[in-house]
């Protein structure tokens, strides 16, 4: 009897101890990796993570497996998330200074700048080969004179529209120099003739703030470019008002989904285009590939640059890095991580798998290869980006403030207040200007 009791006690303690140990192990498996490295010095473990669509996950996993086949001593442990989940996880990892060895980042990266290893050294000693790209592309990921990552591809903002729908309704296609006035009118026309929404979704903060301010005057930006986005880059809050006013008008006349009309996520907005419930949608150009998935074949979708304020005004759209790969400052295997990034960027076979889904590749040879492959959606994106690179005046700030998530959330809240009529467009503009100025102090 007593023995049984003791046995039970011992097993209880062991079980508890084990569960505690394993609990610690899973939260800090970096520690585990160190141990195995010591045992087997040529085995390298890397951790990598990214966000994105299912297509991106599948392709990236294939590329990782390809790399592991070619480099049997490297073992890459990967995780993938949706966009919000990715940044939530990254935030908590950043708090414990243990972010993944290879991280994917977009223009939100200034928040995590303390955690990143500049890549200049790896470029200098030729571990990362940049001979097939140029300064213009590298500058999209250069921050404070340091190369913080290598862009997976560049993109820009665009409106995708259904040409077939416009033709049926007898509405003329937009031209490169179209204005907000024409845009608003076209939306109303679509609503009147077809009784569907003009646009299913606009990324209002990007459109109404990040793009609209540089459109007002060359050299102005929502965030000041000269001081790494630590203050606002314009003085007159009223600059933001016309966009608010347009958005309110569009909801009022039914050409833009009212609050709760269409879900505000991109999936629902894209589905509305496929279902012909709306004629246009605001996208990042590399999302065209995703939008075209499941699009009825008889619908012709085209890209156009977003409207501007006056016909001869600034286009306000920059060529930017849609996302980049960076290396953690605390990584134990920075060189190996750099080698993988080099592979990811330069290897033709890998990029055949990736197929430009992250944006137009910055390496010229890869671009040429993909053009030969000839996927129509990819080609359309490439063509569009050619145009954008002419429209880009080089003074548009492509980096966000580290406080951007909060400012963006406030912008969207104020937009809703304007749409509901609780604030006038000018009050709304003043309010977001004050809010941003206050927290950027």
């Amino acid at each position: 009897m007593k023995n049984k009791k003791k046995l039970a006690l011992v097993s209880m303690i062991t079980a508890t101890a084990l569960s505690i140990l394993s609990g610690c192990g899973s939260s800090g498996s970096n520690g585990g990796n160190e141990g195995s490295e010591a045992n087997n010095s040529d085995q390298v473990h890397l951790k990598m993570a990214w966000w994105g669509s299912q297509a991106r996950h599948d392709a990236t996993v294939k590329v990782i497996e390809l790399y592991e086949d070619q480099n049997p001593n490297v073992d890459i442990e990967y995780e993938f998330y949706d966009y919000d989940g990715y940044y939530t996880k990254l935030g908590t990892l950043a708090a414990s200074e243990s972010i993944w060895d290879i991280v994917q980042l977009d223009n939100q990266f200034p928040q995590y700048i303390n955690q990143l290893e500049p890549l200049d050294e790896f470029v200098d000693n030729k571990i990362i080969d940049v001979s097939n790209t140029n300064e213009k592309y590298l500058s999209t990921t250069t921050y404070d004179n340091k190369l913080v990552g290598i862009s997976n591809g560049v993109n820009s903002f665009a409106l995708a529209y259904n040409k077939t729908l416009l033709d049926e309704a007898g509405i003329e296609e937009p031209t490169d120099d179209w204005t907000y006035e024409e845009f608003e009118k076209m939306n109303a026309e679509i609503k009147n003739k077809l009784d569907i929404y003009g646009v299913s979704r606009m990324d209002d903060f990007i459109h109404g703030a990040i793009m609209y301010v540089p459109q007002t005057e060359k050299g102005l930006n929502f965030y000041d470019k000269s001081n790494l986005s630590t203050t606002l880059g314009f003085d007159d809050p009223n600059i933001l008002a016309p966009y608010f006013e347009m958005r309110k008008n569009m909801v009022d006349n039914g050409s833009y989904p009212e609050l709760g009309g269409i879900d505000t996520n991109t999936d629902s907005a894209f589905q509305a285009i496929r279902d012909r419930k709306a004629a246009m949608v605001f996208i990042a150009s590399n999302q065209l590939v995703e939008l075209m998935k499941g699009m009825p074949e008889d619908q012709e979708i085209k890209l156009i640059n977003p409207p501007r304020i006056t016909k001869d005004g600034e286009a306000g759209i920059p060529l930017r890095s849609s996302q980049m790969l960076s290396i953690s400052k605390n990584s134990k295997n920075k060189e190996e991580a750099a080698k993988f990034i080099n592979f990811f960027q330069n290897d033709e076979e890998a990029n055949k798998i990736l197929a430009g889904e992250r944006g137009v590749p910055i390496m010229e040879n890869i671009r040429e290869m993909l053009i030969k492959e000839g996927n129509p959606a990819t080609l359309a994106t490439f063509e569009y980006l050619e145009k954008v690179s002419e429209l880009d005046n080089g003074e548009i700030n492509v980096f966000d403030s580290s406080l951007n998530p909060e400012i963006q959330a406030q912008y969207n809240l104020i937009k809703e207040k304007v749409i509901l009529g609780e604030l006038t467009p000018n009050e709304g503009a003043q309010s977001i200007f004050d809010f941003a100025t206050d927290i950027l102090k």
Binding site: L9, I13, T16, Y87, A95, G260, G261, E416
Partner: protein, 295 residues
Amino acid sequence: MKEKFRRFMNEDNVVGHVFALPFIIGFFLITLIPMALSLYYSFTDYRLGNPISWIGFDNYTKLFADDRFMNAIKVTFIYVLTSVPLKLVFGLFVAYLLTRNIKGTTFFRSLYYVPSLIGGSISVALVWKEIFSKTGLINVLLSKLGGEPLSWYGDQKLVMIPLVLMSVWQFGSAMIIFAAGIKEIPKSYYEAAEMDGANKLQSFFHITLPMLSPIILYNLIMQTISAFMTFTQAYIITNGGPNDATNFYALYVYNQAFKFNSMGYASAISWVMLIIMGIVTLLIFKSSKSWVAVK
């Protein structure tokens, strides 16, 4: 030595502590230490991944100038004050029905408990989102009945209704406790009331309710606390909108902490929430003296 250790381990006190150890460790690691840390963070400007510096009561003074925070308190109170009473009334009503001698009560009781089993889960929230969506079931029914379809999630005056209904629908756990309480009431009381000519309604109000009052108090407090912590529904269904009309306290804390990375501020908000919930619970307890029958 071995013998001594053996005897030591077999002492009642030691055995007790060893068995409680898993809980004690867990309590320290995932409750007490994080709480202490969050109290400390609430006095700092801690942003995830950045250095920490002490800023005293700044976070707390900032709170009272924060419109979104004030709005979060307001909408959370509206939610608590509507969803909790409705849920309790509904739970009590169903419990009352299910304690009568009908065939298959156990089956029905399990059936009604199912929504609570799947709890505040994401899948339920998604289903609820579809039911009340622009072209969802409710709107289809409305237009069949000749009404206008409503924008449940677009209208800030309506948006609380689906969320409250979802909470009321999960009345199961309150119901089970009520049912157990009702069964405890001696039959003889009802028989005596019947002899005196009381009808069903009178005996419900004069016997069942007073006899059940301690259980009502328990349910009221538990449901109030859980309603204050509502997160999933708002996060999944409305994401706080429209115009912050469902930006509940817990959701706002989450956004501050993990979207805006303002861990220090989020910690301060949480501590204010703890104080508010403490006061509300205390008030309920104080008031209970006047309406809870002591056996």
